[in-house]
């Protein structure tokens, strides 16, 4: 299995990455199947939930409120968590977070860690940093374990290994777990993982996790999961380190009544996921006696400062947008070159890169708005996509090279033409004459040069009619046929 690079700084642009994946029929089938299954379950439960829109409204406004008052909520969380026996650290960026975490592990003399899935750790490339420091890491989520043992990358936020089929999993487990007789039955594969991981759970004293929610009022952390590996990592080790983006706070414990209702329905199409764990600091006699929270900025405070883009941070990582996106359905997650894929990835990844990388991602969308419709916290993703596109174009405006970009030239020319009716009519005439060269006897265009070739790769274009609408109207002799500027 190849190991696509999930570092947005070096990942190929979306159109190029997508082209490669579009040729992988198996992957596309898996993605379509997975997203269809979750979507169907989600839609059924949403239809059943008569107060779904009211829940969305509350979820959205609570998240927006948190972001608008983030300083006080983070300070409150820090105070409460500390009072409950936790240690709170602040990391300005990924590199600093890695340093902090390695520092804690060194204090613990840790040589090995078990991990609960956290996209945030992939965002900061934590595992390579741990490995470089000689610390063995074991991912304990089944999908993450599959990816780790198979030297692969996630293609979906909630079902990261959906691009891997059972035969492929069998291959990986047989080889890496030393089980040559293993069958490819999902039950057998899961049992193999259960045994393999149980040994780890009972022996490794240090665990790293993320968090779904931080509760400011109580200094608590909540983790939502299906498999139980979360509970294992949160309960059995001696030391627990949680790496969490600063935006993941909710104000009060009771706010969870909103988020827990919308998260499971949106993410996995269940009324409630199998296990949700909540803990506050350290509880003597129960669970890890050393608990650290590493609060991560890594570009989030910059996103916070921007009026339209701030809503990106409302995200609760349910991946409902991925499941409904018609673009994602065709490409899966690898095309986005980032751990955050799909519609949310298209807006979050370039912003976390300070718009210096992944500039093709805001264009990886037809702006159909299906994502906005399902987002439980009402992130207007199309609005943010359009805003980010404007930023990308503004970057281009500063470079002379823009005049060799046919799209840029075309847009400037079109704008010039649209500025007056006279120019527009002239452009229409020129277009009609020019395209005649490419128009066949049946009145259709089969092949165009330059950017046009991107259209004609899969579609014909009907030749321009001899008479535009306005010419027809003018010929009718109605009022309004005066030439206008």
């Amino acid at each position: 299995m190849t190991a696509p690079v999930m570092d947005p700084r070096v990942a190929p642009p979306f159109p190029e990455a997508a082209l490669h994946i579009l040729q992988n029929a198996e992957l596309r089938k898996n993605v379509a199947h997975a997203t269809d299954v979750i979507q169907a379950k989600r839609n059924h439960l949403v239809a059943e939930k008569t107060d779904w829109q009211e829940l969305r409204t509350s979820a959205s406004s609570i998240r927006a409120h948190v972001l608008a008052n983030l300083t006080s909520f983070l300070e409150e969380f820090e105070a409460k968590c500390t009072a409950a026996g936790g240690v709170v650290h602040w990391a300005a960026d990924g590199a600093e977070a890695n340093v902090i975490i390695l520092g804690i592990l060194r204090e613990e003399s840790a040589t090995e860690v078990i991990k609960i899935k956290t996209m945030t750790s992939a965002e900061i490339q934590l595992n390579p940093a741990l490995e470089a420091a000689g610390i063995e890491t074991t991912e304990t989520d089944l999908a993450e374990l599959i990816l780790q043992l198979g030297n692969d990358e996630p293609s979906h936020i909630v079902v990261p290994a959906l691009h891997v089929n059972r035969r492929q999993v069998r291959e990986i487990f047989a080889q890496r777990m030393g089980l040559p007789e293993l069958s490819d039955d999902p039950q057998a594969l899961t049992s193999a993982a259960r045994s393999y991981l149980r040994k780890k759970f009972l022996s490794v004293p240090t665990a790293i996790c993320g968090a779904n929610f931080l509760v400011a009022e109580t200094g608590s952390v909540a983790i939502v999961e299906s498999e139980g590996n979360g509970r294992m990592c949160l309960t059995l080790p001696r030391t627990l380190i949680a790496l969490v983006g600063i935006e993941k706070v909710v104000p009060r414990f009771s706010d969870l009544e909103v988020f827990l209702q919308v998260l499971a329905r949106s993410a996995t199409g269940e009324r409630m996921n199998p296990y949700t764990s909540l803990w506050s600091g350290v509880t003597p006699g129960d669970g890890p006696q050393r608990f650290h929270v590493v609060l991560l900025d890594n570009g989030r405070s910059e996103i916070l400062a921007r009026r339209v883009e701030r809503q990106t941070l409302k995200c609760i990582r349910c991946a409902a947008c991925l499941n409904t996106c018609p673009v994602y359905r065709q490409t899966g997650g690898h095309a986005y070159g980032s751990v955050y894929a799909g519609p949310i990835g298209a807006i979050l990844t370039p912003q976390l890169q300070h718009m210096q990388h992944a500039q093709s991602l805001p264009y990886a969308s037809s702006l159909c708005a299906a994502c906005y419709e399902v987002c439980p916290v009402k992130i207007n993703i199309p609005e943010v996509l359009i805003e980010l596109r404007a930023q990308v174009v503004n970057q281009e405006r500063a470079h002379m090279a823009r005049w060799s970009d046919p799209m840029y030239v075309g847009m400037k020319a079109a704008n010039f033409a649209f500025a007056s009716a006279w120019r527009f009519r002239w452009a229409q005439r020129m277009g009609r004459i020019g395209l005649r060269l490419f128009t066949r006897k049946d009145g259709w265009i089969h092949r165009l040069p330059s950017l046009g070739a991107r259209w004609t790769m899969s579609r014909d274009l009907r030749g321009l009619p001899e008479q535009t609408f306005r010419e027809w109207w003018g010929a009718r002799g109605r009022s309004g046929s005066r030439e206008a500027k």
Partner: protein, 250 residues
């Protein structure tokens, strides 16, 4: 009832027959229609591609042009969505007080075609006759931007002689997406492929929609594959009568 037709830049140039149909239809319904020749484009293509100041200059032109009209009818849901969803932000960011006021006065007077028929004229049965098997594709901007809801269905269900066949995965995007169709041509084509599969499975003779943008994309691929299924803007169906039936051109 008086109305001013905003034909849209691409209908004007590529699909004038949709405009002919709108004129025939609305005049038949007693609307006194005019056409301001100074019109060009609403700015959607530029706004959606990231060319905001350029989009604003077009938006400004649109608002100033239609300042004094009773209402504007537009046979394109994506253009109306541009005006409703993005003009406010553009004018807030780049406009002045006077422009914002002009826009605020104009906005409630802008209608997409099916909205104009149902909400403004209050008609569902426009006297149309179109004896063919037809399927309807829900253009995303009409569906999610304008929330046109069942308006197109209410109009189409009253067309005499027509058999309306439901489209599977009705709400899934066809993959046009404006410049997306070119910037991400391969993914656009894959989405198109999926949509065409659903359209062809209806065994309809025609596929219709509120937007010629979607239909240009679908129709272009249908022609490429030598399929007999054709595309037609909803205006073409509604304008067709027994006395003056729609004539299929190829």
């Amino acid at each position: 009832m008086r109305a001013s037709l905003f034909i849209t830049c691409y209908n004007d140039t590529l699909f004038p027959e949709a405009g002919h149909a709108v004129v025939r239809l609305l005049e038949r319904l007693g609307v006194e229609l005019d056409f301001l020749p100074a019109q060009t484009c609403c700015g959607q293509m530029h706004a959606n591609t990231g060319f905001r100041p350029e989009a604003f200059s077009q938006a400004k032109r649109f608002v100033q042009l239609y300042r004094d009209v009773e209402c504007v009818v537009i046979p394109s849901s994506s253009c109306v969505a541009m005006i409703r969803d993005q003009y406010p932000g553009l004018f807030e960011e780049l406009g002045n007080e006077e422009l914002r006021t002009q826009f605020a006065i104009l906005l409630p007077r802008v209608y997409e075609l099916s909205e104009f028929l149902i909400d403004k004229l209050g008609v569902e049965d426009v006297g149309a006759y179109f004896p063919h098997r037809v399927t309807y594709h829900a253009s995303c901007h009409g569906l999610r931007g304008l929330h046109v809801g069942d308006r197109p269905f209410r109009l189409l269900s009253k067309v005499r002689g027509m058999e309306l066949v439901p489209l599977a995965n009705l709400e899934r995007c066809c993959g046009f997406g404006g410049t997306f169709s070119v910037k991400n041509a391969e993914v656009s084509s894959a989405m198109l492929d999926a949509k065409l599969g659903d359209v062809l499975a209806t065994r309809a003779e025609y596929c219709t929609a509120l937007d010629n943008s979607c239909l240009m994309h679908l129709g272009g691929a249908l022609h490429r594959r030598n399929e007999s299924l054709r595309t037609i803007h909803i205006a073409g169906i509604l304008a067709s009568t027994e006395e003056h039936p729609h004539e299929a051109a190829r």
